[in-house]
């Protein structure tokens, strides 16, 4: 206490108190604030498995029909009588669209009036496969789910034993490495910088779009997510079908994105999230010049007059 008493009238004491109080508040808030629910849906690998269209129909009836309509033709706000319950037509969207929207947790959506962010997936892989099969069969076909492109890595919770899980993980990693390593990175770079970077940014960090929309960041997206997004064209994104960008070129493009993301930051441990010049300028001012000015204050400091 003597230590504090001796220094409480120090010119910097006020700032120290404010900083300590802010740190206390911040840390305290982090403790008591509700943490987001990280529960992972119980997913079962459904690849090339059997699908249960009846189950798909039941899921559709429960979770999708209120907005997309019983006939899949979509419903307007006037028809549903609610500002937060309307949806576009699902005619001809195909299984890939269902897989993309539901597996990335964007559907079911709480509010169709705002862009849906990526969220934990609500249905298991098997249920999504059932639902996709139902939508495909009931409302007309579209692009199918590209099962040959690696999706999300298997989770421990999906398997009964460690051995099964490890076998599945090794299989997944082999496929992933083969797919991502198989593309021509130069072609991928040209395609990405010409077609994708002006919204998703050079690093895949995403970016702002018009009308309050944004291009999502690609770091969480699996190769299959990116592939499906290209053939589906969600939101403001154009469709890149196989005539525009062939499957080999899509693989090259995905290889480029994933290779860039895996690339270590050669320039130092602090990559500034690869935001680039804005973050660099911010650090230059807040750390660089501030530190040097603080040193100038330090070396020219003298005893203060007594008052």
């Amino acid at each position: 206490m003597k230590w504090i008493t001796a220094r409480r009238r120090h010119p910097l004491a006020g700032y120290v108190v404010v900083i300590v109080a802010l740190a206390f508040l911040g840390v305290g808030y982090a403790f008591i604030s509700p943490t987001s629910n990280h529960a992972v849906a119980d997913t079962v690998a459904a690849e090339q498995g059997e699908v249960d269209i009846a189950n798909g129909k039941q899921i559709y009836t429960q979770s999708c029909m209120s907005c997309h309509g019983e006939d899949g033709k979509g419903r307007t706000k006037e028809e549903t009588g609610s500002a937060v319950a309307w949806g576009p037509s699902l005619e001809g969207v195909g299984a890939a669209a269902v897989d993309f929207y539901v597996r990335t947790g964007r559907m079911p959506s709480a509010d169709p009036n705002v862009q849906m962010p990526r969220r934990p997936q609500v249905y298991s892989d098997q249920e999504i496969a059932d639902l996709a099969a139902y939508v495909e069969s009931a409302f007309g076909g579209g692009p199918g789910i590209p099962y040959d492109v690696p999706g999300d890595a298997p989770q421990r919770g999906e398997f009964g034993s460690d051995a099964e899980y490890e076998a599945a993980l090794a299989e997944y990693e082999k496929n992933y490495a083969a797919y991502v390593g198989g593309g021509d990175v130069e072609t991928g770079m040209r395609l990405y910088l010409t077609n994708c970077a002006h919204c998703h940014s050079w690093s895949g960090a995403g970016g702002a779009l018009t009308d309050g929309r944004w291009a999502p960041e690609l770091d969480e997206a699996s190769p299959r997510d990116i592939y499906e997004a290209m053939i589906v064209g969600p939101g403001a994104m154009p469709v890149f079908n196989d005539d525009t960008i062939s499957p080999e070129d899509k693989q090259a493009l995905i290889s480029f994105v994933k290779n860039l993301q895996d690339e270590p930051n050669a320039g130092g441990p602090f990559s500034l999230d690869r935001v680039g010049q804005v973050a660099e300028g911010f650090i230059g001012w807040t750390i660089g010049i501030s530190l040097i000015v603080a040193c100038a204050i330090w070396i020219t400091a003298k005893q203060r007059a007594h008052d």
Binding site: L193, G206, E263, G268, L272, G281, V293
Partner: protein
């Protein structure tokens, strides 16, 4: 050595010293200059940061030129960076990759060069703000202020050109915007662009040309201007803040040798350490991740370095409502005004300000004592308004990053910044001026009443008072400096016979009188203040008892 009492230097050194002095007669000059006095205040060290980071830029820049190949001829990368091997690119980009991955220490030096550039321009700005707010640009230092403005503007262009050299994705986009602004200049725009690029964009000529400008012409000019800036500073001596024994004719501080030289030397190494520390730990401009520039490539989320940010912001904010055609030729005011007009506004405004203020106040005297910003509220307010205007443009340059990071609609940010650009400076002026006036009032109160000691005393009559104590002589001197301001009074416009003074006639004369009045009218008067004349305390209460 003129001082016979000083211990003798070793014989060998004396021999060399005498040899040199016999030929060049340096001893006298050296002694005079080594004893030159530098006032001690942290804000006088800001310009030195710029000097030191410039030295670092020169050193690292020379290192980089040893390997950089400023050529736009095509090549296929075969270096050690696996991800880009086999990719077609320009020699400039390939050699930058070579520096990054195959030259020992190359990446570190590249990052030091880049961070030092950011720090260099930032220190120019803080140094210039110090000079502005303390009125150190006034006579006799106007010329040095102009040189400083020139250094600032050339440094920005120098930075832009350096950013453009590696021929990576951002540099190509920067050059493209630069060309767009050139094209917007009426009549000569297309000719200028063709001249600059030696044909269509991007051509093969631009990088060798920018390289010549970046490593030869502009640094040469900068070096000459910095030397001139420094020589003038040396000759005119430093300004100093008010204090005891500090007068217009006498500088109080640390002599150049050994005190100040030691501090300055240490400060150089600290600046170097801070920049190198940033470069070692924080990645900057990772050109190997960006990839090479091709005219079809484009990316979002990419900005120029911070010092060009205000121009980027003005381009993003300024609407295209005023574009028009003359006989089928478009005059693109939407690019012309923000691209060149705002730059002219910034540098022109900075250059003209000392002369404008001298004209308004009619103050033609030389000033070596710096103003305290609060004592010149209008200038301080104008400075704050300028900072706000610049700051809003600067923020607007990153509006897509802000929009994405803080999840604000992009269109909303544009309108927020457009409104803030007009309202912000006005608010900043009013608020700053009010704060200054408040501080003036407090200064006057402290001067008259002393400072509150925190001691509570009960008087015999039962009244409690807080004892006020006399401020130190230093504080009194500092507070009283408000008295010595040159332009407190507006000259009389009408003489004793009712004849209007010549200076007050005509439109300009009347305008000047009104501006001078506006400049000083709200200042708190210190004319009749006697320090400690109204000290509350035991010894004074008896005298004052009758007045209560």
């Amino acid at each position: 050595m003129s001082d016979n009492q000083a211990p003798q230097a070793p014989k060998a050194l004396r021999g060399i010293g005498n040899y040199i002095d016999d030929r060049f007669h340096l001893a006298k000059t050296a002694e005079k200059n080594l004893r030159k006095v530098f006032p001690n205040h942290w804000s006088f060290m800001l310009g030195e940061i710029a000097l030191y980071s410039f030295i670092i830029l020169l050193l690292t820049g020379v290192f980089l030129t040893l390997w950089f190949n400023p050529s736009m001829s095509h090549t296929v990368y075969e270096g050690s960076y696996e991800r880009l091997r086999g990719v077609e690119m320009s020699e400039a980009y390939a050699s930058t990759l070579h520096i990054t991955f195959d030259v020992r220490g190359g990446l570190l030096v590249r990052q030091i060069h880049h961070w030092a550039a950011l720090i260099f321009v930032a220190s120019l700005v803080v140094h210039m703000l110090r000079v502005f707010f303390t009125g150190a640009f006034r006579k006799p230092r106007e010329i040095n202020w102009l040189i400083g403005v020139a250094i600032f503007s050339i440094a920005i262009v120098e930075g832009l050109f350096g950013y453009s050299l590696p021929d990576d994705l951002p540099s190509g986009m920067g050059v493209r915007i630069f060309q767009g602004v050139l094209l917007a200049i009426p009549v000569i725009g297309t000719y200028l662009s063709f001249f600059m690029f030696g044909g269509e964009f991007p051509g093969e000529a631009i990088i060798p040309r920018l390289y010549m400008l970046h490593i030869l012409l502009l640094p040469g000019i900068l070096l000459a201007l910095i030397a001139a800036h420094f020589i003038i500073l040396w000759y005119q001596k430093h300004t100093q803040y008010p204090g005891p024994r500090r007068t217009e004719k006498q500088v109080i501080g640390t002599p150049m040798f050994p005190g100040f030289a030691l501090k300055a030397g240490g400060f150089f190494f600290f600046t170097f350490a801070a920049i190198t520390g940033l470069s070692a730990f924080v990645q900057i401009n990772p050109i190997h991740l960006f990839g090479p520039f091709t005219p079809t490539s484009i990316t979002s989320g990419l900005q120029p370095d911070w010092y060009m940010g205000f121009l980027e912001g003005s381009l993003r904010l300024f609407p295209d409502w005023f574009d028009f055609d003359i006989g089928g030729y478009a005059v693109v005011t939407g690019v012309l005004v923000p691209g060149l007009g705002f730059m002219g506004l910034l540098f022109g405004g900075l250059a003209i300000y000392p002369f404008l203020e001298a004209w308004i106040t009619g103050d033609k005297r030389a000033h070596n004592i710096a103003d305290r910003p609060r004592n010149v509220p209008v200038r301080t307010g104008l400075g704050a308004a300028g900072i706000t205007f610049y700051g809003v443009l600067w923020l607007a340059g990153s509006n897509d990053i802000l929009s994405h990071t803080f999840q604000i609609s992009l269109f909303a940010t544009t309108w927020i910044f457009r409104i803030a650009l007009i309202v912000g400076p006005i608010l900043a002026f009013i608020i700053t001026k009010r704060i200054c006036l408040g501080l003036q009032r407090r200064d006057r109160a402290t001067l008259e009443h002393g400072y509150e000691s925190g001691t509570i005393t009960q008087l015999p009559g039962g009244e409690f008072i807080e004892v006020h104590k006399e401020s130190s002589p230093e504080t009194v001197e500092v507070l009283q400096s408000a008295k010595y301001q040159g332009f407190r009074t507006v000259p009389p416009t009408v003489d004793a016979n009712g004849v209007e003074s010549p200076a007050a006639r005509g439109f300009l004369g009347k305008l000047r009188i009104r501006l001078a009045h506006w400049y000083t009218k709200d200042n708190v008067s210190f004319e009749d203040v006697v320090p400690h004349s109204a000290l509350h305390g035991e010894q004074r209460t008896e005298e004052k008892a009758g007045q209560h």
